[in-house]
C-alpha cells in the first residue's frame, strides 16, 4: 500500500506553534512510528532548520541563516558546492536533504535569502513557476520511494511559498492560539483549502487534519470564549481536534537545539504525554 503523505503545518498568523508542531510531528513519525520522514523548511526565518542542524550565519552582515556544508560533501565534488536547501527545489532543481541526529529523519533546510527570492516572483508567474514546482518535486518517484512522509513548515503568510506547500500537500494541520487574530485567520485557511480542492479530483482532495488549539488555558476567559465561538461555528467546528496543547515551558525547552526531541523526555513528563497524544490523534486521522 502506498500511503505516502505530505503534511503542511500552516497558519498565516505568526508564533502559533507551526514550527513546534512540524518538529514534533517529524520526530513522532520517525521515532515512534518508524516512518522515513523528510522535513522541509519553507520559512526564510529558518527556525525549523536551526532545531536540527548547525545552520551557518551568513557573514555578509545580513544576519541571515544558510545551511552548512553537507556532511556527505567532499571537496572533490566539483558538480556541487556542498550546500543544499529547500530553495534549490526552485533554483538548481536539485535538492539533497541533510540527515538529522534522529534515525529516519532528514531535513531540507531553509536558505533565508534564496527563499526570500522565491517569494519575489511576479504574481502571474506564481502558479506555474513556484506552486507547480514543489508539487512536481514532492511527487518525484525517487522522493516517494525514499520517504513515507513529508512534513512542511511554512512561514506566517499566504505568499507563494505557503501556497505552493498547500498545493503540494495531501494534508494540512492548523495550529492556532485561541486569541482573536489567529482565530480570525482560521476562516481564511478553510476557504483557501476549499479553493485548492476545486482543482483536484475526488480522491486527491486536500484534507484538513484539524485545527489544533495551542497554548490553551481554559481558565483564561478569552480562550474559553474563542473556543465557544469556534465550536459553535458550523464551518469550523468539525475541524477542531479533540486534543489541545497547553502552555508549558517544556515545549520551549524542546525547541533548543541541544535538548533534542521531546520524545527523549521521561515518559512521565506532562508536556511529552500531552503532545504525544496530539500526534497520535493527528496520525490516526492521516492513516486511519
Amino acid at each position: 500500500m502506498n500511503d505516502y503523505c505530505v503534511i503542511t503545518t500552516a497558519n498565516n498568523k505568526g508564533g502559533v506553534g507551526k514550527t513546534l508542531l512540524s518538529k514534533t510531528m517529524g520526530e513522532y513519525a520517525s521515532i515512534i512510528l518508524g516512518k522515513r520522514t523528510l522535513l522541509i523548511d519553507l520559512d526564510p526565518q529558518t527556525n525549523l532548520s536551526r532545531r536540527f542542524i548547525d545552520m551557518r550565519l551568513l557573514s555578509d552582515g545580513s544576519e541571515d541563516y544558510a545551511p552548512p556544508i553537507h556532511p556527505d560533501w567532499s571537496s572533490n565534488d566539483k558538480e556541487w558546492d556542498g550546500v543544499s536547501s529547500s530553495a534549490d527545489i526552485w533554483f538548481s532543481g536539485e535538492a539533497i536533504p541533510y540527515p538529522t541526529d534522529i534515525k529516519g529523519l532528514d531535513i531540507l533546510p531553509a536558505h533565508a535569502q534564496l527563499l526570500a527570492d522565491v517569494e519575489l516572483v511576479n504574481k502571474q508567474d506564481v502558479y506555474l513557476k513556484v506552486v507547480r514546482r514543489l508539487r512536481d518535486f514532492l511527487f518525484l518517484p525517487d522522493v516517494m520511494s525514499s520517504y513515507d512522509l513529508v512534513v512542511i513548515d511554512t512561514r506566517p503568510s499566504k505568499g507563494p511559498l505557503t501556497t505552493a506547500a498547500l498545493h503540494a500537500s495531501t494534508h494540512i494541520v492548523i495550529p492556532s492560539e485561541m486569541e482573536a487574530p489567529s482565530v480570525e485567520g482560521l476562516f481564511g485557511m478553510v476557504a483557501l483549502r476549499n479553493n485548492i480542492n476545486i482543482g483536484r479530483s475526488r480522491d486527491e482532495q486536500l484534507k484538513i487534519i484539524g485545527i489544533l488549539p495551542n497554548k490553551l488555558q481554559l481558565s483564561t476567559q478569552v480562550h474559553r470564549e474563542h473556543m465557544e465561538l469556534l465550536t459553535s461555528d458550523p464551518n469550523i467546528a468539525p475541524y477542531i481536534l479533540p486534543v489541545n496543547i497547553g502552555y508549558r515551558t517544556d515545549y520551549k525547552k524542546s525547541m533548543y537545539r541541544d535538548v533534542g526531541s521531546i520524545f527523549t523526555f521521561p515518559p512521565s513528563n506532562k508536556a511529552r504525554q500531552e503532545i504525544q497524544e496530539v500526534c497520535r490523534v493527528i496520525f490516526d486521522r492521516v492513516y486511519g
Binding site: 539533497i96 535569502q113 511576479n122 514546482r133
Partner: protein, 331 residues
C-alpha cells in the same frame, strides 16, 4: 549510506527563477541595469571593504599572477571567499544585484564589492546592478526628513522611524551606518541622546514593534527594555504590562516581581490598587502562598494544568482570580 539526491530539472521550469527575477524591479530605490564592469569603481574608503583587495588584484589573481602562498591569512581568505562566490554565481547566476550610484566618472559601488570582484574573476563583461538616484536627489529627501524630525509634536514612534529612514539614506550615501555625532549634527540634539536613539533604533525587533504599536512611548522605557536580554524575557515583560503604557520602572521591576500583582489601572473613576506581596526567587514559594490564599480545593481547580515554572501563566491565572474576587466581594 548513499546520498539522496533528487532532481526536478527540466520538468516544467525552463528558465531558472534567478533569471526571471532579473527582469523584475523588486528592488526598492532605483532602476535595474546591466552595467559594463569597467564603468564601475569600488569605494575604497568603505570600511566594510574587507581585506582591501582591489579589482586590479583580482584581475591579477584571475590571470594567475598572484601566488597565494605569499599572501597573509586575511587576504588569502578574502581571495578564497571571492572564489566561492564566483562558483556560486557561475552556478545559480547573480541572485542579488549589486547597488551602485551614478557619479561623475561612472558608477560607485555602494553594496556588493565581493559580487563585483567575483564577476571580474569570472571574466564577465557586465553585472546586474541597482542604480540609485544621484546624490542631490537623496540630499533633498534627507533635508525634508530632518525638517520633519525637528518638529515638536512628533510621537516617539515617528521619531524612531524617521531616524531609521535618515540612517538608511545615510547608508546609501556612505555605505556605513550613521553614528551618534552625525545624527546629533542633523537633529541639533545632544550626542548622548542621539546615541541612545540609535541604540533603540538598532535594538531588537520586538522592542521596535512595541514602539511602533505605541506600547512604548519614550526613550527611557525603550532603553530599559533594550537592556533586558533574551527575546522571551522581553516578551514576558511586554505581555505582563499589556494594555498600559510601559514605564522604565515597570520594566525594571518586572522580571523579578513574580509575586501576585494586580496592575494599577483606573476604570470609570475607581482606582485599582496594586497588591504586592514582595519579591521571591523560588517558585515554590509562590505556589505555597497561592495555596494558602486559595485553599487546596480552589488551588486544584484553577492551577492543576499549570506549569509552575512559567510565571507568565501563573501571573495571568492569578490576575483572573483576583479580578473575579474584586468583582464579587462587597465593598
Amino acid at each position: 549510506m548513499t546520498r539522496k539526491r533528487f532532481s526536478v530539472k527540466d520538468t516544467h521550469l525552463q528558465e531558472s527563477i534567478g533569471a526571471m527575477l532579473q527582469e523584475q524591479n523588486q528592488v526598492g530605490e532605483g532602476r535595474i541595469e546591466t552595467l559594463p564592469l569597467q564603468t564601475i569603481h569600488t569605494a575604497e574608503e568603505n570600511p566594510r571593504y574587507v581585506g582591501r583587495i582591489t579589482p586590479a588584484e583580482i584581475r591579477d589573481h584571475r590571470d594567475g599572477k598572484i601566488d597565494l602562498n605569499q599572501e597573509v591569512g586575511d587576504r588569502v581568505s578574502f581571495f578564497e571567499s571571492v572564489q566561492d562566490l564566483a562558483n556560486s554565481i557561475a552556478r545559480r547566476g547573480l541572485l542579488q544585484p549589486i547597488i551602485v550610484r551614478e557619479d561623475t566618472d561612472g558608477f560607485k559601488v555602494i553594496a556588493g564589492e565581493r559580487r563585483l570582484l567575483a564577476h571580474i574573476l569570472l571574466n564577465k563583461e557586465r553585472i546586474r546592478a541597482v542604480v540609485r538616484p544621484s546624490a542631490p536627489e537623496m540630499e533633498e529627501r534627507a533635508i525634508r526628513l530632518i525638517e520633519n524630525l525637528q518638529r515638536e509634536n512628533l510621537s516617539f514612534a515617528e521619531l524612531i522611524r524617521g531616524i531609521e529612514e535618515l540612517d538608511s539614506i545615510f547608508q546609501m550615501e556612505n555605505a556605513r551606518p550613521m553614528d551618534s555625532t552625525e545624527l546629533a549634527a542633523e537633529l541639533h540634539k545632544h550626542d548622548s541622546t542621539c546615541r541612545r536613539y540609535l541604540q533603540v533604533m538598532r535594538g531588537p525587533k520586538d522592542v521596535r514593534q512595541a514602539i511602533d504599536h505605541g506600547l512604548i512611548t519614550g526613550l527611557r522605557p525603550a532603553l530599559a527594555l533594550v537592556d533586558v536580554h533574551g527575546e522571551d524575557e522581553r516578551a514576558l515583560i511586554l505581555s505582563r504590562l499589556k494594555g498600559e503604557a510601559i514605564t522604565e520602572d515597570g520594566i525594571k521591576n518586572s522580571p523579578a516581581s513574580i509575586s501576585p500583582i494586580v496592575q494599577p489601572e483606573t476604570r470609570r473613576g475607581r482606582r485599582r490598587t496594586k497588591v504586592n506581596l514582595g519579591m521571591v526567587k523560588n517558585t515554590a514559594t509562590v505556589k505555597h502562598l497561592i495555596a494558602l490564599l486559595l485553599g487546596e480545593d480552589q488551588m486544584d481547580e484553577r492551577f492543576s494544568s499549570l506549569d509552575w515554572d512559567d510565571l507568565d501563566q501563573v501571573q495571568a491565572t492569578w490576575d483572573t482570580i483576583i479580578a473575579e474576587h474584586d468583582r464579587s466581594t462587597p465593598r
